[in-house]
Symmetry: C3
Subunit: 442 residues, 3 copies
């Protein structure tokens, strides 16, 4: 019956004010806006839960004597990251019409929506506030990725300073190149949900930071890498599954509306790549070590997820299985290679996020199929390569500069005594498991 | 095309029965009702997950020897609370037209919807059953808040008896004052999602119960408080993050529809307050102890969340950061103060839920801005103060009476021997971590 | 305003092409399709999270020396199960028009939707891809149920081979009998979300496998069952709560649309049965052992959930409380009985999934009320019994045949030495909690 009212009102409006007819052709119904926004909010919650996933994965894969430190880093950088993104990041990444070039733009400090920001006049898929929140949850992941690679030896204050700068400045500038309408978008670089723009950005920061920090004490003996077992695989398992869950929002929300066909395809490719990533890592790690390696399988799931993230919307089910399988295999091979290079990445963050991020971004140029009229550009391997390289150069330099500055101001690494006894005792004055006799090497 | 049918049918109906036009002006489309109800169901799931969050937080912050006891309490009180709320609570809180004064009403025993309860004739935002379920998940939180404050020393049966009475009688009566259309609603007291109506009610019960029980053995030595470390900070961390996640439903669902502007604003203020709460607690606890205190930061997140709950809909982004910062700082200061008062609150429930609940409710009178025509009243500091005081007096008295009655019937506290060996051995005959040698003090 | 456009377009279309009017009467609006599909995606995520729930429950209820093994099994079988379901399972279960009898059908290998699969022409409730993903998450649960019953003694490769066959062939064939339009659907057997079709199928496999494997070393001494305590009740608690959460999607999603009345009723009956299941198990286990048994209460929640799954849509609130209470009580009694029969089911999978699955399916014939015109058949106790028996015979035989074949090829059980030292050392070369001195029996 309400439709009747609407029809009658609409007819009245039509005859009295023909201009409105033309103005509103792009708008969506209240219901459509509401369902889109609801989906985007659900996706936001799922991306939020990834931060718990990261915390579980990282602390589970490292030693009990540093668990409080890792948890503290992860909750703090999430909170500081959200506040920094509200203050400057969001407005650097989405400058809108205010001051925007192809490489840099800025829309002013702080957030706040006028009344239009709460309607579909802002966007048919979400309100201004939903937009901010979804993007803020994304932004904080870039810093959290780095957290894993620097675990068990970085100074708390130094990490927080670096991570805040990275989330507030480096991540949004690269993000603007693609998602804020900058030069990578103009070029025709395709990165659906951020294999490069998020995971590559985090992964480069992780690689540079792990290299600058040097390996943990005891990781290399006579130049040979030694495995340092994590203290709780159940905790890491919980973390990996929550990351998988969160990825449904990370990729599914990147459709930016609840479009049934687009979102459900993205969910299927995302999920198949995750499953195939596990299988790829299982097979390769079994061939390499003749054991069923749980850590590798969990990282294989994540490698498959990172890899499909760039092309989840333009790669079909079969392609996504191939992308995932290769991603899972790459994680295992990359972790062995990084160990041999003398770089210590306690949780495999570089292999998962950077290596699979590069693979997935390039895979768009191999397996991706899309209508250029819809995308606004043709998929091309060359453009994918340019995007990967540009982000790599920018992030590597910025990470190096930021970390060098932080090193000069406050130092990067805890002293040897603190590292041996664990950062929990030194920086937090508390144990993760009070009363439990974890043995010395852990 | 379906629209065409609807239009034609509507036009036929219009001409044949003009009365319907007037009758149905308040109704919403099927699509609108469906999206609203879906959002409310999602919010319900999120509030459900808070109960897992509470369980993780409480057991993680306490000792291994009592972990089974805490988990048992939390699952039991959730289940009994849901059943009790179905039997009487829901009908005390929302008496509807059946028998309702300003202070008390009752709609009869049990739940069950007529066919109208399944349509938007019941409410434009949700069905009768969604309404019940969302409210039932809320109700059980009030008891669970108390659970943390009485941990490690209360008798299982006594707690369950008290908690059941509190969820079935005390919580719904206070809730009716505001959300059931009672005298606080008529007065113009604003408490959007329950800083006072839920967290204050739980917090007062927690304070009275912790005071009546007395401190755990060994908490105070020569009158000085001694820290008793929790046995698993990763477990507490998981709990805190699940509570944060759940709060998106607690506050977001309290809009009572999927209204994009209202819900997304509420989510942003909720999230900013949580992040700011962590920062407030981080800074104040660092200043106080020169360590990075993970427990304080996690409680700071919760303090920020409790504080913004009353005004998440009427406070802007900047205001929510201030409310959250102060909430996080207050948690730290309050935990120190409560320790000095000789009251033992093992997980900081009183500081998080009562102190921040009072602060957040009063903050509505300071930072809140809303159109009186929409709310039905003007925001006023005085009204906020009246609401806080009224709930405090009622809940303190009811808690005292209920607990005194339970004490006389069954006693409140386990005997000294049981407390020393842990409640798990005494009441449950099992260890939380079979085979693990937790050391004596834990 | 967009409505005006639609109305005008529709009117034009109507007069120019009257045929379209007739064609589209069954279609739904874009908005309706979008909200339905969004709900089904949310439900899919919730079912996904059940796999984390199973992993937590199973590993928590068993010994630390086998925790990695259990986690490895659960992540691998989920991933392999998803891929196998994509390759053949989905097309066996939903053969559609391609080749379908009453007992068997097949629609070809692999998945992939034509453009109609992305619209409401496929189904008013979801796209082809959402359909696949929701069903794939369901399918993998059947194998995971078995995983718990065979824990701590089965060979990894043998389990994976058996589980893959079971998910890819046995589960979809039984599923097709009911949900693919086969003979049980034609008969009028009612199993809303799978008390028998999912939990019974998994439960029969669990019973046959546990019986064929024989008990763990030390489970029976002189023929008397000995309790073997799980190593982490907090982990099991997290698992049980995530299963409860996931069940909102398992049952709620089985409505196959976001219909507010139907879904919200299902959520309420599901939730009341869970709460009542806890209470039933609490009371019966307290009477039996005079302790508050956390494991029994958690399994009671699950028993209540399994029991209501068949009739969540046709049983009212009061009936669901009774079904749940009995389910919780049955779990306790069944676990005692299975112990006495000399069968070792480490986590109680048979009691929870098979016994409560049978009870719940039969309960539909006792408490269920529905309009035959809507369902397409009348609810009948006899038909429920036929469905239970048919699934039981088929699954028991298939399980026995598959397991016998796997036994001949690769053996089923690890050798005695491996079992004593734990499967983690033998098959995975790693400990779940590196550095922690779990004592010998665990």
């Amino acid at each position: 019956m309400v439709l009747l009212n609407k029809c009658l009102i609409a007819i009245l409006v039509f005859f009295s004010s023909p201009l409105i007819f033309a103005q509103d052709t792009s708008a969506v119904s209240d219901e459509m806006f509401r369902i889109n926004n609801t989906w985007m909010m659900v996706a936001t919650f799922l991306v939020f839960i990834m931060h718990l996933g990261f915390a579980g994965l990282e602390s589970g894969f490292t030693r009990a004597k540093n668990a409080v430190n890792i948890l503290f880093k992860n909750v703090s950088i999430l909170c500081i990251g959200i506040l920094a993104y509200a203050l400057v990041g969001f407005n650097l990444m989405y400058p809108g019409d205010q001051f925007a070039g192809s490489f840099f733009g800025f829309a002013g400090f702080g957030i706040g929506a006028g009344s239009a920001g709460l309607t579909s006049a802002y966007n048919e898929g979400y309100t201004y506030y939903t937009d901010f929140l979804f993007q803020a949850m994304f932004a904080a992941t870039a810093a959290t990725i780095i957290s894993g690679a620097v675990a068990e030896r970085i100074k708390m204050g130094s990490f927080m300073l670096f991570a805040t700068l990275y989330v507030a400045l480096a991540y949004p500038i690269v993000g603007m190149w693609k998602w804020g309408g900058g030069w990578l978008q103009e070029l025709g670089f395709h990165d659906f949900a951020g294999s490069t723009i998020v995971h590559g950005v985090g992964g480069w920061g992780a690689l540079v930071a792990a290299w600058m920090l040097g390996p943990r004490l005891g990781k290399f003996i006579d130049g040979k890498p030694r495995p340092i077992a994590g203290h709780s695989l159940p905790l890491a398992f919980i973390g990996a599954f929550l990351l998988w869950l969160g990825w449904f929002g990370f990729n599914g929300g990147s459709v930016l509306s609840a479009d049934p066909g687009a979102v459900s395809l993205v969910l299927v490719t995302t999920n198949l790549a995750a499953a195939a990533g596990a299988l790829g890592a299982l097979v390769v790690s079994y061939l390499a070590s003749k054991t069923y390696d749980l850590g590798m399988v969990l990282n294989g799931v994540l490698g498959g997820l990172v890899a499909i993230t760039a092309g989840a919307d333009v790669i079909g089910p079969t392609g996504s299985v191939i992308v995932g399988l290769a991603g899972g295999a790459l994680v295992v091979l990359s972790m062995l290679a990084i160990d041999r290079m003398g770089i210590d990445d306690p949780v495999g963050a570089v292999s998962v996020h950077l290596v699979c991020g590069v693979w997935g971004t390039l895979a768009v140029g191999i397996f991706g199929k899309a209508d250029p009229a819809v995308l606004g550009y043709s998929l091309s391997f060359t453009n994918q390569l340019i995007g990967v390289a540009a982000c790599g150069v920018f992030c590597a330099i910025v990470s190096f500069v930021f970390l060098t500055a932080v090193k000069m101001i406050a130092g990067l690494r805890v002293d040897q005594e603190e590292e041996l006894h664990g950062l929990d005792a030194a920086e937090h004055g508390i144990e993760a498991y009070s009363g439990l006799p974890f043995s010395a090497p852990n």
